[in-house]
Amino acid sequence: MENFEFEQCEYGKGMETAIEIIGLKSHYGDMEVLKDITVSMPKGKITTIVGKSGSGKSTLLKHLIGLLKPTKGEILIGGKDISVLREEELNEVRKKMGVLFQGAALLNSLSVSDNVALPIREHTRLNESTIHIMVHMKLDLVGLSGFENFYPSQLSGGMKKRAGLARAMALDPEFLFFDEPSSGLDPVTAAGLDKLILKLRDVFKITIVVVTHELPSLFMISDHVIMLDSGEAIFAGPLDELKTADDPRIKMFLERRPEEETYSPDDYLRVIAGD
């Protein structure tokens, strides 16, 4: 198994590791979804996790945010192995994380400002006027000031994601995770969101992890890329190296070439008959 630890390579010298995954294995039932993944992600940079649908990238993200426990392996975030932490300890780590889900996952029963205020109200004892100011600042940051009293159902897809991002930023996290930020958005809105991600990196020096399969996004925002294929990390390194990589699987992905059909009808019959 290849190890992708950038500190050992030329490009990664002097860079600090923020997140380290060592020998991660994960199963859904009997199926192995992640097969012994060892990668690390640099601090204050944008790492994109790319791969085809079903390559395990969303599963990897779920492990990073502590929604799934690995079968084996370590996930070090800020030096702590989150796979062995108890719920309360994990919640402490989670306070330093912000997550933007694919559909933004705003609570539909709360207004935009209450959504953004939610983590602040739950984890701090600030008074309402301070919270109000903080919420206003976060919404301003994502370009949504004036939408405080709107409900998620009244927002467009792009606005929902921005509101979700404001909520993820509520507690000034050290780590930000994005699950397919451009999915379901038009190219203009998606590019706007990408720009916002870059701004967050540059202004706040946040360590950002983005799961995506959109090539324009990948080329626009990535500092560091991890590519997964059938649950294996086939590449980890800077974007430039990805572009010049020889692996046919990487080329196929970057050149947007279709895959050969895997099954002949006979094979397919055999598969469904359980042979």
Binding site: L67, A105, H123
Partner: protein, 273 residues
């Protein structure tokens, strides 16, 4: 191609049985964890500086209690009338029509008030809990809560539990009163019983014990409906269609468990009070 054998009948039967047992075991495990988390969130967390969401609880009370008042009123009123009619049908023969008051009073406070209220609440609130939590699960809102370090059970289920523990007994008291009123209206109009006699007879026949046991049942039913609704909601994984399926099974399972629990309580009170 290899030869694919049909499993023998015994194999498939034991397979079916085994799978059922495994699912059942998993359900029991999940439900006990849910009960544990819910009661921890309701009674222990507030002591540790994580208060119950007061405003959410009030809004749940309005949804589960106040909004159910009209339907509970209509059904209980009719139930009282039906019960009085059926009682009169038998009691008329022995010339003991005045005992309609006893029968209506006792059967409504001890049994029908709590059970009818619980069935209405299962249909209204049990289903809505499952649908609400299920669609939140489906939309990743539950995951979002977890990643924000917020326990979804404490956030979503505890306010519902608090609301149900207060509102189901309250609705039951209301149902008792309206049911007795139904019996009263029929008796004074169609059965020619004097209103004062009916009232006196009802008051004399009812014991505090009858009302208290009814309320204890109602309280327990409230808990069961909340837990089952939430459990079915949290079980949603894949599709929007599953939300519908889970909602249906929340209603079916909670009505079933309400009846089972009722049997248990009735037997308990019969022997021990």
């Amino acid at each position: 191609m290899g030869v694919w054998k049909m499993p023998s009948k015994t194999e498939s039967l034991s397979g079916l049985f085994g799978r059922r047992v495994m699912f059942f075991r998993e359900d029991i495990h999940d439900i006990s964890k849910l009960i544990n988390d819910t009661f921890y969130g309701a009674f222990i967390s507030p002591l540790k500086g994580k208060p119950i969401r007061f405003r959410a609880s009030i809004s749940e009370m309005v949804k589960t209690g106040y909004d159910a008042v009209p339907i509970v009123a209509v059904i209980s009123l009719f139930l009282g009338i039906i019960l009085a009619l059926q009682a009169a049908y038998q009691l008329r023969r022995v010339g003991a029509l005045i005992y309609v008051a006893n029968l209506v009073g006792v059967s409504i406070t001890r049994e029908l008030g709590p059970i009818v209220t619980a069935i209405i609440v299962s249909g209204r609130s049990g289903s809505s809990f499952a649908a609400e939590i299920g669609s939140m699960k489906f939309e990743e809102e539950v995951d979002a809560l977890v990643t924000m370090g917020i326990n979804p059970v404490r956030f979503l289920v505890v306010p519902k539990l608090v609301a149900m523990m207060i509102m189901v007994p309250a609705l039951t008291v209301f149902s008792d009163c309206v049911g007795i009123l139904g019996g009263f209206l029929l008796s004074v109009s169609a059965l020619d019983i004097h209103p004062y006699n009916y009232f006196q007879q009802t008051v004399n026949s009812l014991l505090i014990k009858d009302i208290i046991t009814g309320l204890m049942k109602a309280w327990a039913f409230g808990i069961v409906i909340t837990i089952i609704g939430a459990h079915e909601g949290f079980k949603v994984k894949g599709s929007a269609a599953e939300v519908g399926r889970r909602t249906t099974s929340a209603v079916v399972a909670s009505i079933f468990l309400v009846i089972i629990l009722d049997l248990f309580f009735t037997a308990l009170f019969y022997y021990f009070t």
